[in-house]
Amino acid sequence: MKRQIPLLLVLVFGIFMIFQYFVPHESSEWIYEFFLDWIYIIGIFALALGIWSLIRVSYDKIKYKKPNWQYAVITLAGLFAMILFGFDYGRHFFSAEGLSNYMFRAFFDYILIPIQATMFSLLAFFIASAAYRAFRARSLLATLLLVSALVVMLRFNPYFGPIGPYLEQTASWLLNVPNLAAKRAIIIGIGLGMVATALKVILGIERAYLGKD
């Protein structure tokens, strides 16, 4: 019974969602939006579970002095400080409420955003190191990849003078013909895979997400 009810719910709502795609009527839209609202409600409760999990894991690290446990202290301090600022306790010190709270904004704008930007900018260096590995001409295919990449990268370079337009044409061909063909093949495969997985979930064939039998 513990298993049957969720499977029945998935079947009923899955079939409803398929039909909903073909029924544009307002009442069908209303029901669809009503169910989507439940995702937010579930998400809020799940977020509480998530935060509880984060607190527990960090607390254990501190309690048992696991390696680099100091980071867990910063994690918890950051978590509670942002909650505190967000709720705007202590009006004598803080200037505004919630998201416009001075300390909340300062932590967000001058700590979180620069750190995130730093992490994102690492991508440029990782692309370089990954490209170095990928473009080593160890085989015929790797050499083809290297040559294609060079053509695509150098196509807008103004120093190539008369061969510039040919480079651009070759790069466009590479991008629009072999590259796009391969991409579309993968996209069709992904689309079919998604439909198949969705059908398996709706029909109760795929049930790993339900946990124990």
């Binding site: 398929i18 998530g50 999990s53 990954a130 079919l192 895979g193 997985t197 795929e206 339900l210």
Partner: protein, 409 residues
């Protein structure tokens, strides 16, 4: 000299202004033809119908342009569409269409308290005004109406999708029945999935944990659902080999489902005592903060194997490169086209696109799952045949075949 010319110009402007002062709009319009712009001919044949395949609250209008639009007097610069609840008005302006326009879809809000609420099953009247550069000179069409909007119960523009879904469903059920009957369905080798067992064995030998990353997708993403199946398999093996498992999660709902999946696998392996909830934990819903946390885990814990399965975005390469630097064996799979090359470059094994979805069938070898995999193969074959026919027909200028597959929104 310049000063005199400037003075003359100012005087001229003053005289022009004074000469027109006190005249009404009608008087200006009544000026001789030599001075005023002649009004254009009105647009004709205004028609309105309910917009097809929608939820209602929308009326599609068409008209024939004014003869003076692009020809004749050539003074029409656009059309204004007006709507009223009665043929006598009051009319309210609904849209401004550039010259040459022959239609407009009047979409209103469905919420009753919205300003541009357009109720269904209420008759509306429309007229179209051809406008000129002079706002006082225009020509209006005859009033058309009443026309009502209403919602449809079936979107005829999506018939090709329905046909495909029915076809796919029947093929899937056919192959499931066939597989149940004992037919031997061949599935090609998936190196990435076969490597999972090897990677878990390596982790056991090294005494290091396995890091499983479910990506940034939500629990509703198909890629994440496929990832749960692989996680279940990995967790079962991990439990059997008594290796460590770390599953940092980006989404709290994904975390909750992943906890259940891992717990079930430990129970299946007969090791419920080895399961503890914190092996699957929530980190953050901030993309790069999550990356920082997972990278930190990789560099501190030095897992023997990193498995990335699910939906990944810009973080894919940062994760995979850090894992490569940490010396872990890496297996990845995603349906995000833009991230596949990054994983191919940085990981030892990569499941490309649909292989991620095929993994559950490959792992389980259950007839039910293999049947759906076979259906996928046949649907792919059908797609290839349709693409070839489309290529040939388009080259011969036959458009009808292409239109069979047209899907409206």
């Amino acid at each position: 000299m310049k000063f005199k010319m400037l003075l003359a110009l100012i005087l001229l402007c003053f005289v022009s202004a004074v000469s027109g002062f006190g005249q009404s709009a009608e008087e200006i319009m009544a000026l001789p033809d030599s001075m005023a712009m002649a009004p254009p001919a009105p647009p004709s044949n205004v028609r309105g119908v309910d917009t097809d395949n929608d939820h209602g609250h929308s009326i599609t209008l068409t008209w024939e342009t004014s003869p003076d639009d692009g020809a004749g007097l050539n003074n029409v610069i656009g059309y204004k569409v007006f709507r009223a609840e009665s043929p006598d008005g009051p009319f309210i302006e609904r849209a401004l269409i550039p010259s040459g326009g022959t239609g407009h879809i009047d979409v209103g809000a469905k919420e009753k308290d919205a300003n541009d609420y357009l109720p269904d099953h209420v008759g509306f009247y429309y007229k179209v005004r051809a406008i000129t550069a002079d706002s006082l000179i225009y020509a209006e069409s005859e009033v058309f109406g009443p026309v009502q909007s209403y919602g449809q119960w079936f979107n005829t523009g999506r018939v090709p999708v329905l046909v495909f879904v029915i076809f796919f469903l029947f093929v899937t059920l056919f192959f499931i029945q066939k597989a149940k009957g004992g037919a031997n369905l061949f599935v090609r080798r998936l190196a990435g999935i076969e490597a999972v067992d090897e990677a878990i064995g390596r982790a056991t030998e090294m005494g290091k944990p396995i890091l499983y990353v479910l990506g940034l997708g939500t629990a509703a993403d198909i890629a994440t659902i496929a990832s749960y199946t692989i996680l279940g398999r990995v967790a079962k093996k991990v439990a059997e080999y008594q290796t460590g498992l770390i599953v940092p999660c980006y989404d709290p709902i994904v975390m909750t489902v992943a906890q259940e999946t891992v717990k079930a696998s430990y129970m299946d392996a007969g090791r419920p005592d080895a399961y503890y909830e914190d092996m699957v934990y929530f980190v953050t819903q901030s993309q790069f903060a999550y990356v920082a946390a997972v990278n930190g885990t990789m560099l501190r814990e030095r897992p023997a194997t990193n498995i990335y399965m699910g939906k990944f975005y810009a973080e894919s390469l940062i994760l995979a490169e850090t894992g490569a630097l940490a010396g872990s064996i890496q297996i990845s799979g995603t349906d995000e086209i833009a991230q596949i090359p990054f994983f191919v470059v940085a990981c030892d094994y990569t499941l490309i696109g649909e292989e991620l979805y095929a993994a559950s069938a490959y792992l389980g070898r259950e007839p039910l799952l293999l049947g759906s995999l076979k259906a996928q193969d046949y649907a792919k074959a059908a797609a290839i045949i349709i693409a070839i026919i489309g290529f040939i027909t388009m080259n011969f200028g036959i458009e009808a075949f292409k239109h069979l597959f047209y899907v409206s929104n």
